[in-house]
Amino acid sequence: MALRRLFVANRGEIALRIVRAAQALNIETVVAVSEADKDSAAARLADRSVVLGPASAAKSYLDPRLVVHAARETGCDGLHPGYGFLSERAILPTLCAQNGIAFVGPEPDVIDSLGDKIRARGMARAAGVPLVPGCDGVATAADARREGDRLGYPVLLKAAAGGGGRGMVIAHNGDDAEAGFHRASAEAVAAFGDGTLFMERFVPQARHVEVQLMGDGKGNVIHFGERDCSVQRRYQKLIEEAPCAAMPDHLRKQLHASAVALAASVNYRNAGTCEFLFDVKRQEFYFIEVNARIQVEHPVSEMIAGFDLVQEQLRIAGGAGLKLTQDQVRLSGHAIECRINAEDTARDFMPSPGRITRWSPPSGEGIRLDSHMSEGAMIPPFYDSMIGKLIVHAATRDAAIDKLDAALAEFHVEGIATTIGLHREIINHPDFRANRIHTRWLEQVLLPARKELAA
């Protein structure tokens, strides 16, 4: 049965995006807010908002009991977690199920399995998906040295429950591996409450490529092509594009087939992303992880597919099957997204909260802005610094870059520092234009050169 009233358990641009998608399907919306977000754009647009708790995320957005209680007591029959916060915590869909609320996402056991990177590697292996050479369990520092010696340095020590670079250490030799074991394990315990580690061979100059998936839990899984998210700083994506222009077609087909096979093996329901490392030199790709939620960068896939993924999420959560078959998914042109953050790039990307005194966004054909900001809006210091996503779509990558450059030049924000200027520098760099980038490119090439110029 289609959803009637949706609880939006998130904030910022994604909360607004979900409210709009729900309204397009005639679904009522209730938005969860913290004290700091009472006057947010999503709260104003929704049919109702509920103040969960104070500004502290731990006492509002990150408390699954408060979220589900508020959803139930406001008569919601569906709950969308967005991304971040509780979106990949199995406790949320578990509590939803116990309280008669349809969770807009996968089943709790699927979230749990995929969230554990060691288990996810096992599932990928079983589905025939290529893995980075590595080992699944590293119990001691001596194990780390032995496995590092076997795999060949450099190697990555990674937290089984990790993400975002936390609990991750690069080791260049046996001593590094032993020392790194202690550090990564302690960091993983602090960040995720679980110090379990695994190890992979480090792939230098790799690209981050991921496949957008959608399943209906009825045995059907389709993909919406791949995204290239190689422009990163400290493992955080800054620019994403679709398709991955550096990948040859025969490899692209294998990539899509691998991602679909993995999702199909768990009868995946709703939106998900299968992430891979693409070793351009070897022309091989390796499984990294599955993100069991909608992702920040989903709009680039929507732009090349001409399809609303969030609306499809809501339909599937309401019990519908996939609206499209794989043959009906038509991908065309090239899309690029820039994450606009309230950060001062000249001061080591320091967050720049405060009031926006001027907000003059670009517009035009093939230009999309997903943002919750407006003139006079206040950016609180309590949450992440993303204030919007600028997305462009054009026939080719070159045309998309030109369009993005023009759109960024037209985008004026005052009162706070933003990453708009940095994005123009990135996309106009000869390496970006020539598509010679990798996940460390920004930190190894552009940012050091920028720092030198400023000195």
Binding site: S56, A57, R65, H69, A70, A190, D348
Partner: protein, 143 residues
């Protein structure tokens, strides 16, 4: 000599960024949230710390003139988070600090809200059985 790896440098960079923010931007407050760890810094007396329970509003209800000055102090007890109101102390009830003035429920768990001061329940700000959002006035105590 200490050799720092990338993660150690990252941690130091983050700490430095915080310090620079404090000093250069003149912030009185910084709230740092990472996983389950939260840090709140302030140069003042900390009363606006968002990590603390909602402040208890104290208001001077009336001031008589001339001297001697008679002051009636009203204290509002508010919901510390969203919850369903199970029960409220009756209007007119005399309560001591620490005594329950409201019972709230989140899913199947109930919790009791204690009076912050001695007083008499003057009025209700919420209805039993209804959802009270964070900060909703539950009862007002007259001292």
């Amino acid at each position: 000599m200490i050799t720092l790896d990338e993660n150690a440098r990252l941690a130091i960079d983050n700490a430095r960024a915080l310090s620079v923010t404090m000093i250069d931007q003149g912030w009185g407050t910084i709230h740092v949230s990472s996983a389950d760890c939260e840090i709140f810094l302030t140069r003042g007396d900390g009363r606006i710390d968002p990590l603390l329970p909602a402040p208890v509003a104290a208001a001077v209800a009336a001031v008589a003139a001339p001297a001697p000055v008679a002051v009636l102090l009203a204290v509002e007890v508010t919901a510390p988070h969203v919850a369903t109101v199970v029960s409220l102390a009756a209007v007119g009830a005399v309560v001591q600090a620490g005594q329950t003035v409201a019972t709230l429920r989140v899913l199947d768990e109930t919790s009791e809200i204690a009076a912050p001061v001695d007083g008499t329940v003057d009025s209700h700000g919420a209805l039993t059985g209804e959802l009270a959002e964070y900060g909703t006035r539950l009862v007002t105590l007259r001292r």
